[in-house]
Symmetry: C2
Amino acid sequence: MIVQRQSGVALWRQIADRIRTAIANGDYDATGKVPPEISLAAEFGVNRHTVRSALAALAQEGIVRAVQGRGTLIERKERLNFPISRRTRFSEGIGDQAKEKEGLLLAASEEPATPDLASRLQLAVGAAVIRLETLRKADRRPVSRATAWFPADRFSGIAEAYRESGSITAAFAAIGLTDYLRVSTEVTAVHADSGDLADLELSPGAIMLVTRALNADPDGVPVQYAISRFPADMVQFTIEN
Amino acid sequence: MIVQRQSGVALWRQIADRIRTAIANGDYDATGKVPPEISLAAEFGVNRHTVRSALAALAQEGIVRAVQGRGTLIERKERLNFPISRRTRFSEGIGDQAKEKEGLLLAASEEPATPDLASRLQLAVGAAVIRLETLRKADRRPVSRATAWFPADRFSGIAEAYRESGSITAAFAAIGLTDYLRVSTEVTAVHADSGDLADLELSPGAIMLVTRALNADPDGVPVQYAISRFPADMVQFTIEN
DNA sequence: TATGGTTGTCTATATAAATAGACATTTAGG
DNA sequence: CCTAAATGTCTATTTATATAGACAACCATA
């Protein structure tokens, strides 16, 4: 496939996205480097300078590193896989795909439930809910940005518990909820917004996978509703049935 | 949030994407039309002409229609929901979200299995597989583009069966497979390629949701591997656990 | 029917993206 | 120690994107 002109997406960005995907797919694993700029220019049907813009963007992201005389070396090629199942848990899902896992609390607040949120959590409209803004990292790279809501009466200390443990599962356990189940997960995709770019260290124009997830306790009572955003070039979801 | 400059994504495209999303979210349901160009220009911090480019793109997609003197009317705002479960079926998944459902066979061929495909279908590398390229429509609007592979020895007449019925489930039934189950589904997101643009009648720069699905018969023997592409602004997936 | 609010069209200018070509610099390998 | 194969840098030109302003055309409604 050839790149699209006058599409509103600059050629260098289209090419950067495709090379990033190719790297994630392992297409260049044999050499450990990206093909020469001239070859890429020929492949995509563009000028070498356009390819250089694309590679410069990828270098900025830390995915490749150009070395004069040698070529453009691949520095990083992970694509994390997140299984989605009835027992979905963020840290366990990553498993051994990353050594270090981290959960940062960016913000916490208490607020009244909107009609949509109240219906999902089976609360009265306007009932108090706790909102947590979190950032998750794997091997020190940010992999998701999430907003989660919990019924305030039942989970009053959850912000502190999350801040200390960096894990929803651990925070639930600290409050006495030892088990929970995933009820449903909606998946959509959008362009990254400026908050994504800042928090997840992305380059503009990146694509985000968005999940809207509902968790409930073993009795089926909703305990958490969360909207999470993941960079699409770094993650994929797997639904096992 | 304000739009991002020099990001490799033209402002008019960013604005078109955000208005499209806002329409799908029902933000303008009260009036049935998009806010005036001048308001949008102020909201996004751009010139009115830039907003006009965005609206022109949406008009091209058939999402809005501008009427001089009145405003820009919303023509279409659906977002189809596809449940993913152990018993995922395309047509049943749409359910009553669309009246007319259609499945077109674009191309069919027999080819040897690549190592990746052979491993997924549990065949020998190079074993014959049948490949179907299909286009699915709901209410005459294209909603997905899929490539599906089947073991050739077991499903020799499936291309014809699909062409006649427009349904994988019906085609399987015609060959004697009355039931099958979804084993796994991987979900990723990418930019639309030129094939997507043509087949799915999209505007360049659109985002696609991509699923890679494996189906097996009740004994667990793989019967189909499929890669499907859906326009992200028209569909969402729901995983019910 | 007059008016305010809206989209349509035109011209002009500035900035960003892409192409084109030439040549320098660095590295790996014979 | 050459040479081929890479990336790095520079200048120039063309095309696409974005801004700016003015005014025409049209619609709803007071």
